[in-house]
Symmetry: C2
Subunit: 410 residues, 2 copies
């Protein structure tokens, strides 16, 4: 099968191409700065590395540039649009409606659009991308894979806020959680590495990237996660604040005359590592500055790790224990310091870190165990690969929907 | 010493009188529904139980009614205002300025008033009460005891939100924590019961009342607590929501056209147990309804307990382990069901509940141990007594300030 995986952000398009018959034909590409000056495409894989400046800069042009590279003579991996057997689209919010990958029809698109008010920053962009791709690849089935779907197993006592129940009924205000595809992938990879079945394990999975979240995966099912109604709750992130007293927002309204929407923008774009450190949203730079003695960078680093530690403890309590703690994402894979500080003191819960393994782990290669051999709780570093999980989910959805069609046709 | 402890709420005045020479002369009283119809005074202690309706209903009249009962022939415990050796006042917010009990002067009152924007619902009421009491008891020293003071030991990585640091510098936005006097009292009582020194213990203290909070007390010092910038963060409470995604507030602004201040009101008065259950803010009634099979009451109960459990796990992680979990407050003392559900699965952290001891514990008498004899972590029920702690703190402040005066005078 030839699978194309699409991930549209507000100003970027990431794509990955897999040929299930030949791993060496995998291609990963990204168009950045869409809609702003300096739009460029980068791609690596099959035909080597490519970097190209694009003059005109909208999403349609970005998609066309992608198709041009995928079909180009020499470096190309497909002859034309008709060659692709399935397109998988990342959709951020699936609400309570979408609990698994879904074959996209006009009705499904309308249902996704109906969720726009829950994810005003994300879903409209995803929908536009889907429409564009269906135009370019009219013959292929398109599958939506939702960031929220993996968390549909949260019990009500974990997904309800301490809010009037009417707001849940009327507006569907609840914890949804995001990063689901990544958490699911990592949990499967972990089970494989440990030679166990996913439904035998209690995992705390820490996805630490620009966006960061922790997930309690109890016997294969997400039972709680730190992102909530929006992706701004939970951990401190690159530019997002994570957990905060709601009273702060009313305070800023009264004292700085900000609306809640303005404060939301602040909490999403100017907070987190960037806001605390005053230096950067990029953990590498924050860590560098902390090592050089910058006090705000140091407190940002400590606060970041402390929040991770509290969630690990909370989720161990949620599940009545844990078999493994797993780190993934750029920070989770790249920063031995973050992992070590986050795990400080957790020997009380059976976590014994092997300092040397941790220091030496190359988080971007194979799965690595960084706990000692006799640590009751395994600690692993697992490289993130949402795209691969999306490709798998797309194939699974497809065969399920063919099966349904076959049964219905009889 | 004759100590009068004052706790002014928005529509209530609680007072407690202690005579250190004679415990039997302790008097506890409350004036309720101040400023609204049906104002009444109730008092118990020395002279038996008293209940009195008051016709006019402001705070000055409430204080006068209190003085009348305390000095009345027969039931009275003092001859007149001059008889009281010290008055202790509960003040909700001490900001970063007040880290311990403080002798009240005009300067101190001005400093407390300067904190009004941090605690608009509470501090103005406290200040008005202090002014009134100083008029009625002009000869006595007046001491302010702050709800926030015990938490002044929080490290920066625990008290900073993932917010731009400028908001901390400019507006002092940070986690303050409340219920400090109660947490401190309970931690001292726990140490005494366990025959240990407070600075040898790591405690997770769950104060579960109408307002609820959890506190991690690490070797005698508060190192983290669930209430934050305001008392609305953290646990689900009677009518307060506790932890919630800040994005919900922006959503309500956009979709229900509420301002952040209106939402704040909603999150403080119509949420929590009341909002979730739709029945009551009173845990007894929620529990009753849950037992009778009401599904919303059941999910409210479960969500309440689950949140407590997560905080216990988080704070065990914060401190690198815990020696005891302590329950206090009306719910913590009264509800064996809440304690049992909150502790479910925590044997992974060394908590072994003795179900019978838990069921049979009378939380309103002596300190009770409800863990098994060989549980690595002690679980205790400790009756709350903020008033006694305030009285102690007032005496300590007084002797400290006499000492300072004596030294300065030399
Ligand atoms: N070796 C490293 N050490 C510390 N941080 C790293 C390292 N490599 C990447 N990071 C951090 O990872 C973050 C980006 O994570 P990533 O998962 O790539 O982001 P996204 O959430 O956008 O997918 C950045 O903060 C970056 O600084
Ligand atoms: N026996 C009991 N069982 C369950 N809940 C109880 C019991 N006794 C008191 N409560 C609950 O305690 C709460 C009041 O706690 P309290 O500490 O008195 O409040 P406050 O925070 O106002 O001081 C109420 O929700 C009440 O229902």
């Amino acid at each position: 099968e030839k699978i194309l995986v699409i991930n549209c952000g507000s100003s970027s398009l990431k794509y990955t191409f897999y040929d299930t018959a030949d791993e060496s034909r995998t291609v990963r590409g990204k168009v950045e700065r869409i809609g702003i000056s300096g739009t460029r495409l980068r791609q690596q894989g099959a035909g080597g590395e490519i970097e190209r400046q694009l003059s005109t800069a909208g999403f349609p042009e970005a998609f066309e540039a992608m198709v041009a590279e995928l079909t180009s003579h020499g470096a190309g991996v497909i002859h034309g649009a008709g060659d692709v057997s399935v397109v998988a689209h990342r959709v951020v919010h699936g609400g309570e409606k979408f609990t698994e990958g879904t074959l996209i029809t006009e009705d499904v698109l309308a249902d996704i659009e109906a969720l726009n008010s829950l994810a005003p920053l994300h879903n409209p962009v995803n929908v536009a991308g889907i429409r564009e791709m269906r135009r370019l690849f009219p013959a292929a089935p398109h599958i939506a894979v939702f960031d929220t779907a993996f968390h549909h197993t949260l019990p009500a006592f974990a997904y309800l806020y301490g809010l009037s129940y009417e707001y849940y009924e009327k507006h569907a205000i609840r914890r949804y959680g995001f990063h689901g595809t990544s958490h699911q992938y990592v949990s499967l990879r972990t089970a494989q590495f440990l030679n166990r079945r996913p439904n035998e394990l209690r995992l705390v999975c820490c996805h630490l990237g620009n966006g960061s979240s922790v997930c309690a995966i109890d016997h294969g099912r997400s039972m709680d996660t730190s992102m909530g109604f929006t992706p701004a709750e939970g951990l401190i992130m690159g530019t997002r604040c994570g957990d905060i007293d709601a009273g702060v927002i009313a305070f800023l309204e009264r004292n700085e005359h900000l609306t809640a929407t303005q404060t939301e923008d602040l909490l999403n774009r100017k907070s987190g590592l960037l806001g605390l450190s005053g230096i950067s949203s990029d953990m590498r730079e924050v860590q560098q500055a902390a090592e050089e003695g910058n006090p705000r960078a140091l407190v940002a680093l400590k606060a970041y790790c402390y929040r991770v530690r509290k969630y690990i403890g909370a989720y161990a309590a949620s599940m009545g224990g844990m078999d493994a703690v797993v780190f993934t994402g750029g920070i989770g894979q790249g920063s031995a310091a973050v992992r070590a500080i986050a795990l400080q003191g957790l020997d009380c819960m059976g976590v014994v870190l092997d300092r040397q393994r941790n220091r030496e782990a190359d988080g971007f290669g194979d799965v690595q165990r960084i706990s000692t051999d006799d640590s009751p709780v395994n600690v692993l570093v697992v490289p993130a690969d949402e795209e691969r999980m999306m490709a798998r989910e797309a194939l699974r959805t497809l065969s399920r929907s063919y099966l349904t069609q076959a049964i219905t046709a009889r």
